[in-house]
Symmetry: C2
Subunit: 264 residues, 2 copies
């Protein structure tokens, strides 16, 4: 490999001998074998605490403001050491792989609490102190960092397709892909789903492994999801699409730039 990168593999499954555990080990091994440096956070193995609390951030009995007090602690360097450790891993990464089982059509609590605790104001978003420019989306601090979601789920493939009852996967995960990753400036790759996970046999597992290798090989080349930029005229000051963009249309897909909208 000409250009080795640092990949941060963030995962959340309670059982190492699960399909998730197997895919994790195999994916990390593959990335290393292709020359990348891999940094890991296996949240269950680490005993990660997912709960945002004021303890240590404000004096006992003081009112705790989750946004303001974590921002202040970030600036002062007084966030808990586990949070600072995760921030350093994310900061140093060229790409992030976020792997989880879909529980109640969302990330497991232990992983949600990684976002809640690690992505504090000042670190993951903020304002330019000189210009007042909001630092998010295309101005976000994590510009250029690629993120790939790997998700196992029990539903069959069509249930997360465009007319699937569980919701098309990118729409179902909009708050994560757009509201979290794109918000902080990351380059969001199409997520990779492993449906029918409870019915994995040796043959289907071999297919999964092969497909995952392919996606990891393309980690730095895959075309991302083209979410609209925030500050280039597509949205009003109230964060609503201007009337000229996709006139009359609604729905989450309006926030993705259509192929025919892009200059060829």
């Amino acid at each position: 490999m000409d250009d080795p990168k640092t990949v941060f593999w963030l995962s959340a499954h309670p059982e190492p001998r699960s399909l998730n555990g197997q895919l994790r080990r195999m994916g990390i091994k593959h990335l290393k074998s292709t020359g990348h440096h891999v940094v890991e956070s296996d949240l269950y193995a680490m005993g990660w605490d997912p709960v945002v609390r004021g303890d240590g951030l404000v004096e006992a009995g003081q009112r705790f403001d989750p946004t303001g007090d974590t921002k202040r602690a970030y600036i002062e360097g007084s966030l808990p050491s586990d949070v600072r450790g995760e921030q350093a891993k994310l900061q140093d990464a060229d790409a992030v792989v976020v792997q989880f089982p879909l529980w109640w059509y969302a990330v497991p609590a232990i992983l949600k609490g990684w976002f809640d605790r690690v992505l504090v104001s000042g670190f993951a978003f903020g304002k330019d102190p000189d210009t007042g420019q909001r630092l998010r989306f295309e101005k976000g601090p994590f510009q250029g960092k690629r993120v790939l979601v790997l998700v196992t789920l029990g539903d069959r493939p069509r249930a997360i397709g465009p007319r699937g009852k569980s919701g098309e996967l990118c729409e179902l995960l909009f708050g994560l892909l757009h509201g979290t990753f794109a918000y902080t400036g990351m380059v969001v790759l199409p997520p990779m789903a492993f449906p029918s996970a409870d019915f994995t046999d040796n043959e289907s597992y071999a297919d999964m492994e092969h497909a995952l290798h392919d996606r990891l090989d393309q980690l730095f080349e895959t075309q991302p999801i083209h979410y609209r930029p925030q500050f280039q005229g597509d949205y009003t000051e109230e964060w609503e699409l201007v009337p000229e963009v996709r006139p009359g249309e609604t729905g989450l897909s309006t926030h993705v730039i259509d192929d025919h909208e892009r200059p060829s």
Copy 2:
């Protein structure tokens, strides 16, 4: 009140002196004043553990299957006592109010872990042991139980409107409203949002309080979101809309029955 009901108020905010804490106390007081019985779970105050673990469910060193082992423990009555306590509260409730601040466009980790740990197979969904019928959506165990989401958020109102950048609220929360509440059989009310929460002053707070009283007064009369039933021909066996329903359309809103589809 002729017909007092039991309302379960489930909430998650770390600071009682927050807007969330104030709305919670006020809402509960109002429900009681109108004759309802209110049961509470204030997850931060309870020190709720949000992490699904195999401890106590499988022998040390045994492989842990989050779905299968919690189902078995539910049937045997050996789930942890905190989980059983929450299940009893939910079981006994005529309506549930679920209140939270929107963190990273989703529920806080401590609340996500309530769903992860409490809504186990056998309790919140399952199969009829005699007929093999899947017990979910209109066959789900919580049929008739109403659920109202109250959510505070920093964004301004239009950001969560039909063309808002953060995603229209019901679409943003699809995994919760549809994939969790409707899945288990609940009657899902349109969620109530408190946007611009960081800019609340006395006047806007008075408006919030008034609006919340109105919604709580209508808790048992409000028209719910008309999600499609699962077993009445709208979906294939693969959980995909049949071609005749909303032909050619995609997006999360296709899973809600349009007014013009319903018999008048």
